[in-house]
Symmetry: C2
């Protein structure tokens, strides 16, 4: 299966699972649920949940184990979606568009958007701790711990704090790396690692997939920086050039476009190399690495 | 031990644990951590974590089991604190004062306050899933599930959404009950139940403590409504009369002050009755029920 077919099949699978796991729009909380569902289903490539499932595939061909990871994959997507809703708020990036549609607060108002984010974040942990899960208790607790760390004060939230509080400031490349690693890299890396742990990876497999996850997270952010600098608003579905407009440090700002492209390619190659000891069941992860890099061309 | 001494001893214990479990103000995320710590340590009676520990005491006299519940008790306090930070935001209740001090966004700005809330909520789940926990994996997963449900879209966050979106509207008493139960009652009830589960309660004990928790949560909210209607801003440490000013429905608005006081007393008595089959180790919970009601006098 080529990577585009693979991605669209997995995307459909993830979206079907998201729809079944997310609360239905009914009952007394229906308006709140509608606001959460709006951002959850407004679009998105579902890269994080797909990475989680693809990492599980690389470890095992047992379909039941992979299915047991669907709630984990969906929880990660809920967390990613909440982070976009909060990042877009007037007090943060103040964005009107996301994926070509009005941002959550533009559609539902600021209070409802803050709460939609809070609800999605909390619901993610409800999904992760569901009684019906087929994953062993120990693996689930490890996955919850990993995800909470990746999304928390020393991960995604901390990274967003650093990003916001250093706008329009000159800062060293070391800080840019920290921001990227915590704000974007951590959740991507933990998507891969969660899939590995849930699929019962041994210590060596886990270490290799951890390495792949960290590198792919870095590549993803470098490419995002590049796209913000080079693509149009229509291509992005969000405001292009907004990093520069906000005085945000980026890879292109430090190294220029060409050297940044080279850096993205190198990082993707390193991610692929980390998987050299895996069977051909790791092919989707390898293709995903290339796909992430391709977005720059 | 009388209840005031009990409460101040437990409060010290909880605050010491909170300080040891919360990230230290150092490293690259120090400003973000400072904003979380500010609201976590600006004051508060620590009723929820104390309820958790007192429920465990009612079930077991094993000190190690009770100590193993400290991270759970602290996680609940982190979630309560995050909810206050977000409730106070300009887009929500727009409060300047909380516990007699500037609210988080007044001190750190709106973006930092949103992220301090997000960070505390996420960190709570990190605490709950810590590898070093002495609680059995199954109990921990049940507790995580309970807390996520109580704090989530059909619990605290959903309740806050209903509260905000029904300001200045006439609505039936049924909806007021739903708002109170979800916004405030759910987290209080789950504080008690988490302590019970963590301490290894049997099915009957669990059911009785569940009943006590729900009733105490209701009593707490009725008393809060009363205090908002009758106390001064100095007594509350937050703006008094703000419910009425915002056109929020409350128990006193439906029933008047005296009938509401009677309702609070009845609810507290029912909560105490639920514990009649417990040994005298449930005395702190019984005294806590009375203490909650006393706040109105």
């Amino acid at each position: 299966m080529n990577i585009r077919d693979y991605l669209s099949a997995r995307k459909r699978e993830v979206e079907k699972a998201l729809d079944s796991f997310m609360l239905p729009e009914q009952g007394v909380f229906t308006d709140h649920i509608a606001a959460m569902r709006y951002s959850l289903f407004v679009g998105g490539k579902r890269i994080r949940p797909i990475l989680c499932l693809a990492a599980a595939e690389a470890v095992t061909d047992d379909a039941a184990t992979r299915d047991a990871l669907l709630p984990v994959a969906c929880a990660i997507e809920c967390i990613h979606t909440y982070s976009l809703i909060h990042d877009d708020l007037p007090a943060m990036d103040n964005d009107d568009l996301r994926r070509g549609k009005p941002t959550n607060h533009k559609k539902y108002g600021e209070a409802a958007a803050i709460l939609a984010g809070d609800g999605l974040l909390t619901y993610a942990f409800e999904l992760l701790s569901r009684p019906a899960s087929a994953l062993p208790d120990g693996s689930r607790l490890r996955i919850i711990q990993l995800i909470a760390r990746a999304a928390g004060p020393e991960g995604m939230v901390g990274g967003q704090f650093l990003d916001i509080s250093n706008e329009n400031r000159d800062y060293p490349f070391e800080l840019l790396k920290t921001i990227h690693k915590s704000k974007t890299g951590a959740l991507i890396a933990c998507s891969v690692l969660s899939g590995a742990i849930g699929a019962g990876a041994d210590a060596v497999q886990e270490e290799k997939l951890r390495e792949y996850g960290i590198l792919i997270g870095l590549a993803f952010q470098i490419v995002d920086d590049l796209l913000d600098a080079t693509a149009t608003t229509t291509q992005l579905g969000k405001t292009a050039g907004s990093d520069r407009a906000r005085g945000k440090a980026t890879y292109p700002a430090f190294f220029g476009i060409e050297a940044t492209k080279e850096k993205a390619r190198e990082t993707v190659e390193a991610a692929k190399t980390a998987l050299s000891s895996f069977s051909n069941r790791a092919q989707p992860l390898i293709d995903l690495a290339d796909y992430i890099c391709m977005r720059t061309h």
